[in-house]
């Protein structure tokens, strides 16, 4: 296992990304184009997608005691293998399709049962608290997982600043609706815009992250720029991307996947090896880059959230 102190070596420094990607692209390009022309195959089909964006470095990142010491998944995998149905249901497509997606100007509407209703600029939100690097395990409901050095701060920082009313028991996140720039939203695969939600005590848990960066830099578009939620003890789809609205409510939000298939995707969707998806087992997962599957951990290994669900039947509240 790699023991790494994120504050000493920010992950953005480990590999000069643009350099090695360009070099690899060049090498791969010469070899593949030669062979591909012989085989009569198209270059785009063979070449690995290598979408690199000009991301800005996030300044003043602090390390966090919530970070895992597990091996970080390479950036090229995290930024080229995305479940982002707003762009495409193909995991390799969002990296290409989100390239020109505009994330500025960008505002987030805070409304519902909250005292300080307001429209916040995303750049103002990013300055609300000190950015931290949180190296989290991330487990997809499909059975694969990654380890990502996210950048952001606890969602509770923002919630506390906007002063929710006592009757606000839930918090609902809405992803941007922009079918002109998000081709997936022109299909009826899911109901748009994408909606996710958390119970207030879940949202207030310090692990729940308001995220605007990864690998020391701003988020790539295909990973949910400019602002997303990361809830590491829940399946990945609970972590809404590109959010434009945070709504405080006394009613349990109906999240998009729950609406799409209520018997398969619940509101809670905590990572749980003992509760199978109706169509597949959740007992194991494939960590990207590893050959053998590994056992999936209860709450994705974040046991500190267990008390949020004491007394609840997690088979029923899946």
């Amino acid at each position: 296992m790699l023991i790494k102190k994120p504050a000493d070596i920010p992950s953005s420094e480990i590999t000069p990304k643009s350099l090695y990607l360009n070099r690899r692209k060049f090498l791969a390009g010469t070899v593949i184009s030669g062979a591909a022309s012989v085989a009569g195959m198209s270059l785009g089909e063979l070449a690995e997608p290598m979408t690199v964006q000009a991301n800005t470095k996030v300044e003043g990142i602090q390390e966090s005691s919530f970070s895992t010491t597990e091996k970080i998944t390479p950036l090229k995998d995290v930024s080229n293998y995305n479940n982002y149905y707003e762009f495409s249901t193909d995991k390799y497509e969002p990296a290409k399709l989100a390239k020109d997606f505009k994330t500025r100007p960008w505002t987030v509407t805070i409304d519902g049962q909250v005292k300080k209703k307001q429209v916040l600029d995303v750049d103002a939100i990013m300055k609300m608290a000190t950015p931290e690097e949180r190296i989290y395990r991330h487990r997809c409901v499909e059975g694969w997982s990654i380890v990502v050095p996210w950048v952001g701060f606890s969602l509770s920082e923002l919630i506390n600043k906007v002063d929710p009313m006592p009757k606000a028991k839930f918090i609902e996140f809405t992803t941007v609706l922009d079918p002109n720039h998000m081709p997936g939203q022109r299909t009826g695969v899911l109901e748009w815009p994408y909606v996710e939600g958390l119970r207030m005590d879940e949202a207030m848990h310090p692990l729940a992250l308001l995220c605007f960066g990864m690998y020391g830099e701003s988020l790539p578009n295909q990973d949910g720029a400019p602002l997303r939620i990361v809830v590491p003890w829940k399946y990945g789809f609970k972590s809404a991307k590109a959010i434009v609205r945070i709504h405080f409510t006394d009613k349990q939000p109906i999240n998009t996947w729950n609406k799409s298939a209520p018997n398969e995707y619940g509101f809670y969707s905590n990572v749980n090896p003992n509760v199978d998806h109706p169509r597949w087992s959740q007992a194991k997962e494939r960590r990207l880059g590893e050959f053998f599957k590994r056992p999936t951990l209860m709450f994705n290994g974040y046991d500190q959230v267990a008390s949020l669900y004491s007394g609840m039947d997690l088979k029923k509240n899946f």
Binding site: L46, E48, D77, Y85, K91, V189, A261, R279, S281, K293
Partner: protein
Amino acid sequence: MIRWFKPIVFLACLGPLARLGWKAYNQALGANPIEVITHSTGDWILIFLLITLAVTPVRKLTGQLWLIRYRRMFGLFAFFYATLHFLTYIWLDKFFDIHEMLTDIAKRRFITVGFTGFVLLIPLALTSTRGWIRRLGGKRWQALHRLIYFSAIAGVIHYLWLVKADIRKPLQYAFVLGVLLTYRIVVWTLPKIRAKKSAALSPQT
């Protein structure tokens, strides 16, 4: 058809495997190589099943009777990719964990139906030789080989049942399969209806 044409088609049918091998060699299978291999071999099973099922209608409709000589090869390639797909599952996905596989086959309906589709292809591959056609007799051999319809239906259902929300691709396969099966229903029923009609129309005396 020209003599060298068949080996070329044979090599072309190996193309999807060569492409996967090439990508694997160049580490260009992306972030989740095993998933790519599983999905790619799965796609090619369905494609080859549909090509196999298209041979008869295309042959009859275009009069290109020589096409029949390629049907067995296409069918065997469907079986070939099905075997690879199945091997990927038992080796790369389940790592030969028999207990886990049996639970899967019993419990997960998309695995159950996919496994059924694969098993149905085994007798067809085994009896695909001239010797077996002779031993079984044309009629019985043909009846046995109608199992391909059920195998293809099982394959499409397997795909439909495994996707999360985007059923567009499985529906495309379902549509093509629907057309190919409808052709057969029409071919079987039309002569019977005509026979009845002509019987009814024939003069009574």
